[in-house]
């Protein structure tokens, strides 16, 4: 159990709030408030916030619709990160509280609602007791340290060890995370299926040979397939990059017989043929001289060089100029554009190369390699499947009924993934269903 030390301290400490009242009227004096928690308005906003958070908690929690007042997309959620991210809280105390909870979620990935509810109830209780706030802080600190000590001790009766040689407890752990969010709209069968996939994906992200000194886990990419049956979800090792169907029809060189690795060039610079930024100054060009034509020339020379070097796959983070794409296609080189910055780190790792950031290639050029390249077809979408020699990258094709249910499921899967990773670090799990909380409270009472 990791939560609440730092968060509570933040939330409970006696502080001064410097609040700018309005953005338009900048000359207004800053306002200092003493004992902000004793104010009447704080109590109301805290109660409202607490109600929102508590009603979402648990597998039978109520869902919340998040909807912009002007219309548009409706998000249905009971996830703390989605909820807190889109709630506009005005009061400084609440701002502090939500920031603390968001911090907790970004660190541990789980337990956001619990943290928020606990903070709210502690704040409420301390307000009711009417004691000086420094005493309150001391009490809370003492209680939390007692809890943490007890949970870490051997004598703790509400935890059990995780056995990594069997999948049962790991599967149960994943499933308990997935089923705690009813916004995912999973049936029992579907929860089982997704749970297995998440565990598989997690195992694929565990580095194969720890001896090489690789620290940390690989990455799992979530491929979105909305409006599809959950049971059609699947997981595969390697990276799936979505490509428009029409590019694929004649893209892959038919029957690549050799089992040699595919030489890969990875570009982080845009190959779209635009003239690079000149910064502050202006470039003065004579009419008749075309900068664009010059850049395109350079691009085509780059293409010729790559074809000469036997590159089989060109990946660009940004856009590739149509003429260059055409040239590469005519020479049986597969070109993938717009992969985005999020994939770049993993691509570098998979291909074992550096991202090329200029249009002038060094020699020898920093090419990488891939074991294989295939096409995959999942329902309406086409994907390029990049298969690396050896790396802990996997893709989870996640299907769900609609957009909002998909977002919920993705968050739940990420939570489960994070929980599994933390379990490797600290192989203990706590009993669920309120057992741990009840146990802790009775322990505190007897102390």
């Amino acid at each position: 159990m990791y939560f609440f030390e730092s968060e509570l301290e933040l939330a409970l400490g006696w502080r001064l709030f410097l609040g700018k009242m309005s953005r338009v009227d900048a000359k207004k004096l800053s306002l200092c408030t003493r004992e902000p928690l004793s104010q009447e308005t704080v109590g109301h906003s805290l109660a409202a916030f607490s109600h929102i958070v508590r009603s979402c908690y648990g597998p039978t929690g109520r869902l919340k619709h998040l909807h912009n007042g002007l219309g548009g997309y409706v998000r249905t959620t009971s996830h703390s990160s989605a909820l807190l991210g889109s709630l506009c809280v005005a009061h400084p105390v609440l701002k502090l509280l939500t920031a603390a909870v968001q911090n907790h979620v970004s660190r541990f990935g789980d337990g956001g609602l619990f943290t928020a509810a606990l903070c709210c109830s502690l704040l409420g209780k301390l307000r009711d007791l009417n004691m000086p706030s420094c005493t309150g802080v001391a009490i809370c600190r003492r209680l939390s340290s007692q809890c943490v000590d007890y949970l870490a001790s051997e004598a703790c009766g509400c935890k059990m060890p995780v056995d990594f040689s069997r999948s049962k407890i790991l599967l149960d752990l994943v499933r308990s995370v997935l089923t705690s969010k009813c916004g995912c709209m999973l049936s029992r069968e579907e929860a089982g299926h997704v749970g297995t996939l998440v565990l598989k994906a997690f195992l694929l992200t565990v580095p194969q040979n720890a001896a090489t000194g690789v620290t940390g886990f690989g990455r799992c990419f979530y491929v979105s397939m909305k409006d599809k049956r959950v049971l059609d979800s699947s997981v595969c090792s390697g990276l799936l990059i979505e490509t428009p169907e029409f590019h694929l029809t004649r893209m892959l060189p038919g029957g690549r017989t050799t089992s040699s690795p595919i030489r890969t060039a990875l570009f982080s610079v845009s190959l779209s043929g635009d003239v690079c930024e000149t910064g502050e100054g202006a470039v003065i060009v004579h009419r008749g001289v075309s900068l664009e034509a010059a850049v395109l020339d350079q691009l085509l020379r780059l293409g010729q060089r790559m074809v000469k070097d036997g590159v089989g796959l060109v990946i660009c983070q940004k856009v590739i100029h149509p003429a260059l794409k055409q040239y590469l296609k005519e020479n049986q080189v597969v070109a993938v554009e717009r992969v985005g910055v999020a994939m770049m780190e993993s691509l570098k790792e998979m291909t074992g190369s550096q991202a090329i950031a200029s249009l002038q290639l060094l020699s020898p050029a920093p090419y990488g390699s891939l074991k294989d390249l295939r096409t995959q077809h999942f329902a309406p979408k086409w994907f390029l499947h990049l298969i690396p020699e050896d790396s802990a990258i996997c893709s989870l094709v996640l299907c769900n009924r609609n957009e909002t249910a998909w977002e919920e499921l993705k968050l739940a899967c990420q939570t489960a993934e994070r929980v599994l990773q933390l379990t490797v670090k600290d192989p203990w799990v706590l009993l669920g269903g309120g057992c741990t909380e009840t146990h802790l409270s009775s322990y505190l009472r007897h102390q």
């Binding site: 409006d227 029809t249 003239v275 000149t278 100054g281 009419r287 149509p322 003429a323 055409q326």
Partner: protein, 538 residues
């Protein structure tokens, strides 16, 4: 207290209750009037209704999302979905008023839903069995009665008998064989329909088959009124289980197909399947049958022996509003309307093989591909007396040089074309067609092997498609016709899979509904064939 809490549910229930009038094959259309602009739209499907209503509340948005998702995937069943939403939401409201806890309602509803899905899945018929099924459902009765199938606005299907002889008025009977009694579909149908049918049959009132205001007699049944014989098979339409197969057989015999026997069989079989899925959209499903015929013919000509594929992306529609409905037809190739100036150019391109270029951007001097960033601070210096306007003229000349070099006659462009280039092309008898969808470009690229380009500067010998033909559409009968002085033409290439479904309607506001209906039919057949394929794989 309760009422206030379930405001969303009440909104949902009232919003969805409009679906009732859209149910069944005889729908009543609705006018949606904008009070501010006093513009109005005529809608007769749930999708179009929700599209035209602006509901900015959460519930409306969610409902709209769900309906649109269904429509995007299946193009059918949206009205049923809306109706179910209305029925369920009012049922839930009632339960809540009686104090049933929410969690129990949710559990029961999801259980009910999954058992419904199970039931429906057990009722599915594999494609191979459909034909058999169509043949051996005899609906015999031993009096001289005919059956009118009527559809009320409530969507309930009722069957009424009209007795022609007094003596046999009350002796209405339906023979069902042993085999059929074991059939779950027939049994279900029996239990729901027969008792009512008997009850009606024994009463004397039913002999007056006078349509009431909200009830219409179907045309298909009316034609059977005068051919009543003993033991004649009655004709049930609007359900795949009761569609008579006989008609299709006779129809096929008259169709002159030059394909092999296999293709004839396949067409007959697919045609039957299609028509059994029409559910009251007969004319539009006929067009889908024509699409099937078209493709099977193409396949037989090109000796493609591989498995027949119903590829929905190779169908495009072309609407001819204002023409009589008899002009609706299916035409291989790409049909579109041309303005008079272009028609004059097109006239010179008729009946000879053309060279074609496919462009997936705009044909203007300033167009750049997506993701191209223009530099802000590049300044041009004029050296000689060239003026600014000349640059686009120079560009057009350069483009024209390229087109002449490869002897291009026809350009299909996804975006727009600048006027100066169009004018120059007119002079050189080059036809440019704008606003062509990507599916069409792709179809021509597939058949001619021409690569799609973004800039004309890219054009090389790989990007020129050959043996493409252009003709005026409908020249056969009455010269070419004109629509607001626009002329329809058709562009084809040998063996092209692309078909255009030409839809026409004299009533302007019905055009959209007809187009929707056609796509509904096409998607039904598409999904039926798709599901069959997956079944086979398993």
């Amino acid at each position: 207290m309760n009422r206030k809490r379930h405001l969303g549910l009440q909104q949902l229930s009232s919003l969805a209750s409009v679906a009732k009038t859209f149910l069944g094959p005889i729908k009543s259309s609705k006018f949606i009037v904008d009070k501010r602009t006093s513009g109005s739209v005529l809608v007769c499907s749930a999708v179009r209704l929700l599209e035209s209503l602006d509901s900015d509340n959460t519930v409306g948005q969610l409902l709209n999302d769900a309906i649109q998702a269904q429509n995007k995937e299946y193009k059918t069943g949206t009205t049923t979905l809306l109706f179910l939403v209305s029925a369920w939401s009012s049922a839930v409201l009632e339960c809540l008023e009686q104090g049933v806890p929410l969690s129990i309602i949710v559990t029961l509803m999801s259980e009910g839903l999954s058992s419904c899905i199970e039931q429906v899945q057990s009722l599915t018929i594999p494609m191979q069995d459909v034909k058999q099924k169509l043949d051996d459902i005899p609906m015999k009765y031993n009096n001289k009665a005919l059956i009118n199938i009527r559809f009320g606005t409530t969507g309930r299907q009722t069957i009424e008998t009209k007795t022609s002889g007094i003596e046999s008025k009350d002796s209405f009977e339906i023979h069902v064989s042993e085999k059929e009694l074991n059939d779950p579909i027939i049994q279900q149908w029996e239990s729901s329909q027969y008792p009512w049918l008997f009850a009606k049959g024994s009463s004397t009132e039913c002999s007056q088959a006078k349509p009431k205001d909200d009830i219409c007699v179907l045309m298909g049944c009316r034609s059977h009124l005068d051919v009543s014989n003993c033991n004649k098979r009655s004709k049930f339409i609007h359900s795949r289980y009761f569609t008579s197969a006989k008609e299709f057989h006779s129809q096929q015999l008259t169709d002159d197909l030059d394909g092999s026997a296999k293709h004839t069989n396949e067409l007959g079989y697919l045609g039957q399947v299609a028509m059994s899925l029409s559910h009251g959209k007969g004319p539009e499903m006929k067009l889908v049958q024509d699409v099937l015929r078209c493709w099977l013919q193409t396949d037989s000509q090109t000796a493609d022996s591989h498995h027949f594929q119903f590829n929905i992306s190779e169908i495009v529609t072309c609407c001819l509003p204002g023409m009589s409905e008899s002009y609706s037809c299916v035409c291989p190739g790409y049909v579109m309307l041309l303005c008079p100036e272009k028609a004059a150019v097109a006239k010179q391109l008729q009946d000879r093989p053309l060279h074609i270029v496919l462009v997936d951007g705009d044909l203007t001097d300033t167009y750049r591909h997506l993701g191209f960033n223009r530099s802000q601070n590049v300044r041009m210096i004029l050296e000689s007396g060239n003026n600014q306007a000349n640059s686009s003229g120079l560009w057009a000349d350069a483009v024209l040089d390229i087109l002449n070099q490869y002897h291009i006659d026809l350009l299909l462009v996804q975006g727009n074309t600048c006027e100066s280039l169009e004018e120059k092309c007119f002079l050189h008898h080059i036809l440019i067609i704008n606003q062509v969808t990507h599916a069409v470009l792709q179809a021509f690229s597939n058949i001619t092997g021409a690569e799609i380009v973004t800039y004309l500067a890219q054009v090389n010998e790989h990007c020129v498609g050959k043996d493409v033909y252009l003709n005026f559409w409908g020249t056969g009968e009455s010269g070419w016709m004109e629509l607001d002085s626009r002329v329809p033409i058709v562009i084809t290439a040998k063996g092209i899979h692309l078909v255009t479904v030409v839809l026409s309607s004299p009533v302007f506001s019905k055009m959209q509904a007809i187009e929707d209906n056609f796509w509904t039919c096409a998607y039904r057949v598409h999904h039926a064939l798709l599901d069959n394929a997956t079944d086979n794989q398993k």
